[in-house]
């Protein structure tokens, strides 16, 4: 009997390791021949640990399974959820990037290949570098880290640069609250990321890659490290990638707890062993990146999407989406929601459908007050903006951003002045210190919001002015985008900024 128990951090945080151990010990007691496979998560976090048993009809799911449920599970007496593939959450999605996540054993290359893995890389090997870049450009893939810059155009710049050494750097410093897609794919399907990096290497003629992985993700670090060794032993990495005669190898590097290192130039400094301070652009990292050499810096999801683009073709991928936002986006639904997790769907779904239907409203059962989309630097969207389609330009038009596609839901007990203050406080803690608007502005921002909280209405104008300065004068998105959550909270929820609110009540 094959039983799947996820090894994803979220499943582990909810007791998956104990469940897996109990299944083994209970099975041994019953003399059952049980094979426990630790898969990635399907992304239905409210059902974790989601245990699956393989049957003739497909994989039957049980969840959320507790240790005490294991005897009933093995006796066939535990109520099942039915076939996992048939659950509404799974059926509603278009899983391209995450096609294997939760399905396969993350550290089995055999499993990986049996589910379509390496097809994209083999296609790429048969193509010229310019041909690969063109395919990725035609797919319309844009940077999934948040900025949304077209991946193919970035690659083309690096391909055109002349140098004795070029690099592929994967930004796995997923520090945005409400986002966990990078972590999920690294833990659940690490070979996809490795394959994407190898294809990127072939495309721009880079032979060395780095994954800069945040230290807050010890499980992802462990799995990625093992996957790289397995890939190297299987000839997927090394001096002769899959017998192509072309070289590419890579290394996993661990961050050290600085949020700003998710900004690409800070990341490069950190990778070089320096303080993670932002660099002024130009020069672009594509021309002068890691150690001054031409470097592709891409987010995990951008790189992990490349294999499926090469496997199914640019046209297939570009067929999904809305306007200039092509393909699919793994949306992470988090915070105060009934059904939280990862939902990969074509761009264009209205925010309200995501919040009210997919996420099922709040966990607390109270009305939704605000939704922060795009991490700590994203705007707080009120219900009035719930018809905004989930896509780059559409969110931009509403004074927001989709960022890395984290959607954090808050109920009506939330104090938006407090959230605005937190945004400034976070910016002050995490500022790299290089530019004044961010380093000093964030500190003044906390003080100014405290003045408003104490009833000083004149401070509101000051806060607006400060936000303008931070927006226009900061070197990177940390100082430049902190005004998004602050100003959206102020503009969309003015009642929370009314002086002497408590006294008036």
């Amino acid at each position: 009997m094959k039983i799947y128990v996820p090894l994803d951090s979220a499943a582990k945080a909810l007791g998956a390791d104990d469940v897996a151990a109990t299944i083994l010990s209970e099975a041994a007691m019953r003399g059952l021949d049980v094979d426990v496979i630790r898969n990635g998560t399907r992304g239905m976090i409210w059902l974790e640990p989601l245990v699956e048993i393989e049957t003739d009809k497909g994989r039957v799911g049980y969840g959320a399974v507790e240790v005490a449920d294991v005897p009933a599970l093995l006796d066939g007496k535990l109520e099942s959820l039915g076939l996992v593939e048939d659950l509404d959450w799974m059926k509603g999605q278009t899983r391209l990037t995450f096609q294997r996540c939760g399905v396969t054993d993350p550290l089995s290359l055999t499993d990986y290949e049996a589910h379509g893995g390496l097809t994209g890389l083999r296609t790429a090997i048969a193509m010229t570098p310019a041909g690969i870049v063109e395919e990725v450009t035609n797919s319309g893939l844009r940077g999934r880290g948040g900025a949304g810059f077209p991946t193919g155009i970035k690659w083309n710049t690096v391909l055109g640069a002349q140098a004795d050494q070029k690099y592929i750097v994967c930004n796995a410093d997923e520090g945005d609250s409400g986002t966990f897609a990078d972590r999920m794919i690294m833990e659940g399907d690490p070979f996809t990321l490795i394959e994407g990096m190898v294809i990127a290497g072939l495309a721009v003629e880079a032979t060395k890659g780095y994954v800069y992985l945040r230290s807050e993700y010890p499980d992802a670090i462990d799995i990625m490290g093992k996957a790289v060794v397995l890939a190297r032993n299987a000839g997927m990495l090394g001096a002769d990638v899959l017998g192509s005669g072309r070289a590419f190898d890579m290394e996993i590097r661990v961050g050290a707890g600085a949020y700003v290192c998710g900004e690409e130039t800070s990341l490069l400094n950190s990778l070089e062993g320096k303080r993670g301070v932002v660099r002024a652009k130009p020069p672009l990292p594509a021309l002068e990146g890691f150690l001054g050499k031409p470097t592709v810096v891409n987010n995990v999801i951008s790189l992990a999407t490349v294999p499926v683009v090469m496997e199914k073709g640019a046209a297939h991928y570009a067929n999904f989406g809305l306007g200039r936002s092509k393909g699919t986006m793994p949306i992470q639904i988090a915070g105060n929601v009934k059904f939280g997790g990862l939902y990969e769907t074509a761009f264009g779904m209205p925010l309200g459908d995501l919040v009210d239907t997919v996420a099922g409203g709040t966990l607390s059962g109270r009305p939704v007050k605000a939704v922060q989309v795009g991490g700590p630097l994203g705007a707080y969207m009120p219900r009035e903006k719930f018809d905004t389609p989930f896509a780059y330009e559409e969110f931009d038009g509403q004074g927001g951003l989709i960022g890395h596609a984290g959607v954090v839901v808050f109920d009506d007990s939330t104090d938006m002045l407090g959230m605005a203050r937190f945004a400034m406080e976070f910016c002050a803690v995490e500022s790299c210190g290089k530019c004044t608007p961010c380093r000093i502005g964030a500190v003044r921002g906390v003080e100014t919001i405290d003045r408003i909280g104490k009833g000083d209405a004149s401070a509101i104008e000051l806060l607006e002015d400060l936000c303008e300065t931070m927006k226009d004068g900061s070197l990177c998105a940390l100082g430049g985008f902190t005004p998004f959550p602050v100003m959206s909270a102020l503009q969309n929820f003015p009642d929370d900024f009314v002086p002497n609110k408590e006294a008036a009540e």
């Binding site: 951090s9 979220a10 582990k12 945080a13 909810l14 976090i45 409210w46 997923e174 520090g175 609250s177 409400g178 986002t179 966990f180 990078d182 972590r183 230290s215 807050e216 993700y217 010890p218 499980d219 290394e251 590097r253 661990v254 961050g255 050290a256 707890g257 600085a258 950190s270 990778l271 070089e272 062993g273 320096k274 303080r275 993670g276 301070v277 890691f290 150690l291 992470q332 639904i333 988090a334 915070g335 105060n336 929601v337 939280g340 997790g341 966990l363 922060q372 700590p376 984290g406 954090v408 839901v409 808050f410 109920d411 939330t414 959230m419 937190f422 976070f426 803690v429 995490e430 790299c432």
Partner: protein
């Protein structure tokens, strides 16, 4: 001056990272794994090895939240303070933890059992409030789960 034992340990660590490009962070992680913190007397050894100044090494150590200049408690509990966890009660949970331990963020209990730190996102945003105890993740931490974690850590 560093003692013989420190020099020997450091030679081993530096040799392990000899072929890496930009090796300072990996070196510091190895040092912290060995000692539990970054001892002051290794800074000069690293600086000499990489041919950079003591100040540069110190600048890097002090920039990153992860590197400590003194040993932590026996157990390190990190509690997520980011937005997604706040939406499901992380603020109240943090207050409870700090009050029970009688310390501020980054502080260690007087018996040396627990160091409590703020962390901004563990990627467990769909099952918050989240925490991490010595590298082990815990989700949906409520007051009773927190009390249990603190008790187990010997606070």
């Amino acid at each position: 001056m560093s003692d013989v034992q420190t020099i020997e340990i450091m030679q081993g660590i530096l040799a392990r990272h000899a072929t890496q490009e930009g090796p300072l962070l990996p070196i510091l992680h190895s040092v912290q794994e060995e000692y539990g913190f970054i001892p002051a007397d290794v800074v000069q050894i690293i600086a000499d090895h990489l041919n950079i100044t003591r100040a540069e090494v110190h600048g890097v150590i002090s920039f990153y939240h992860d590197f400590r200049d003194a040993p932590a408690g026996k157990h390190v509990i990190k509690i997520c303070r980011a937005e997604a966890c706040q939406s499901v009660g992380a603020n109240a949970l943090s207050e409870r933890a700090l009050e029970k331990l009688g310390v501020a963020w980054g502080g260690t209990t007087t018996n040396g059992a627990v160091t409590v730190e703020a962390v901004y996102c563990l990627g467990l945003c769909a099952c918050g409030p989240a925490a991490m105890v010595d590298g082990k993740v815990v989700g949906r931490v409520d007051a009773s789960k927190l009390d249990k974690l603190l008790a187990e850590a010997g606070a």
